[in-house]
Amino acid sequence: MASSLLRHLTAPIIDNNPITLQILGICSALAVTTSLSTALTMSAALVTVLAGASTAISLIRRHLPSSIRLVVQITIIASLVIVADQVLRAFAFEMSQRLSIFVGLIVTNCVVLGRAEAFAMRNPVGPSLLDALGNGLGYSAVLLLIAAIREPLGSGSVFGVPVLPLASEGGWFQPLGFMLLAPSAFVLIGLLIWIIRTLRPEQVEVNDYPFQGTDGGARR
């Protein structure tokens, strides 16, 4: 029993990762991964909101008429997001400026509503909380991994601390401007999905449009 409970926590980290398998939350993953510190802050904010929202929605799941459930879910998520945003503004103003609207946009982050709708509405509080934490950690792991590639290659630093001597300041490292642009995260997430699906072929989706050979037979 304990192991199946724990599975809610560990499964979303690789096997059912919200970004690389469910392809949710891509927008913020592109936007905040130019540096590790923004990625870490965003991850913390998302984990907090996701855990709070899933717990709250799971608590009231039996009292929630299904016709208004989305409204209530969004209201709960939005309230938590506002709290998280205000806390950031109060205690880490500079960071909240750098994250600009992306903390506020957690409201529309598909991971949060997706877990509320798909899991917290039908499961008790304990598993819901674990599922939320697991998905939050899966999302954070991808964000931090992408940021750990983009920040050193794009600006020669890690957590804002210069580690590679920049060519513009007399060093040897020529930063890759491409890494500071959103498409680089797209490419990196694509490569990550490729690696994961090569290692775990069961994640590969069914081919909707198989190649029709000249013999008329469909091939994969």
């Binding site: 020529q174 890759l176 890494m179």
Partner: protein, 266 residues
């Protein structure tokens, strides 16, 4: 009865020969400085193709040779070799090989490589090639046109749009006389993999590339350089499938209408 004249290897051979003419002129112009870059590009292209053909259990494809030759032709002088190697690898792998190789993707790997180079690194100088390279590129373009490997519709559409719009520029049509532009038109914009593949679509694709080129070159004074050419080729190739789809939709609608009319009369 008639066997197809062009298979993949013959196509590669013809295109490589076409690219070799301006390349020879370029080497004659710059001297041996281009030889290490050429060797590196050829080696990289073939290594990546060998890796992917091995991983996918397919016969070795040689079209990387053309990619390497065109890349070396277009890359500006003075770009460090490691930057060239990185950009070319990026373009070949992510622009072509991950889709399954030439003919299975929708982008030209050279366009992807050069976009990566121009976006990633600051202060890439503009490519300057002299008149001999321009003439040689014209010769090879004419040969490939005569062989039917370059679509005359794309070239004409491009020439019309770019020529008309270039009249608004201070230098007029003379601004278009750049070897970079001509080589890109023949090998990148008119590349059948990246361009539209319906006849009407080819006209539109050529015209779109030409218009985009002049748009991107607005504000630059001299002869049109690498940056606007590559941006135009990249953006136009992204629109090529949409152009084709539009042409096909229109065609089906026209045919359906003809059917209905035919039904009434007959």
């Amino acid at each position: 009865m008639t066997r197809p004249v062009w298979d993949a290897n013959r196509l590669t051979l013809a295109l490589a020969a076409g690219a070799a003419i301006p390349l020879a002129a370029r080497i004659a112009e710059t001297g041996a400085a281009l030889v290490p870059a050429l060797g590196l590009a050829l080696a990289l292209a073939l290594v990546w193709q060998a890796v992917f053909s091995r991983a996918r259990c397919r016969p070795m494809a040689w079209d990387g040779v053309v990619t390497a030759l065109v890349f070396v032709l277009l890359v500006p002088d003075g770009v460090p070799l490691w930057q060239q190697a990185l950009s070319l690898s990026f373009g070949i792998v992510l622009g072509s090989l991950i889709f399954g190789g030439r003919g299975r993707g929708f982008l030209n790997p050279v366009v992807v490589s050069l976009s990566f180079l121009l976006i990633s690194f600051q202060g890439i100088p503009d490519a300057v090639a002299g008149t001999p390279v321009l003439v040689a590129a014209g010769v090879s373009g004419a040969l490939l046109l005569a062989l039917g490997l370059v679509s005359w519709r794309i070239v004409t559409g491009f020439a019309l749009a770019a020529g008309l719009l270039a009249l608004s520029r201070p230098g007029g049509i003379a601004d278009l006389s750049s070897a970079t532009l001509l080589i890109s038109l023949v090998f990148l914009i008119a590349d059948p993999v990246a361009a539209a593949c319906t006849n009407t679509g080819r006209w539109l694709h050529g015209a779109l590339s030409g218009a985009l080129l002049i748009l991107f070159a607005t504000g630059t004074e001299a002869i049109i350089g690498l940056d606007p050419v590559i941006s135009a080729a990249f953006l136009a190739s992204l629109f090529a499938p949409l152009i084709d789809q539009g042409v096909i939709w229109r065609n089906t609608r026209l045919r359906a209408r003809r059917q209905i009319r035919g039904g009434h009369h007959g």
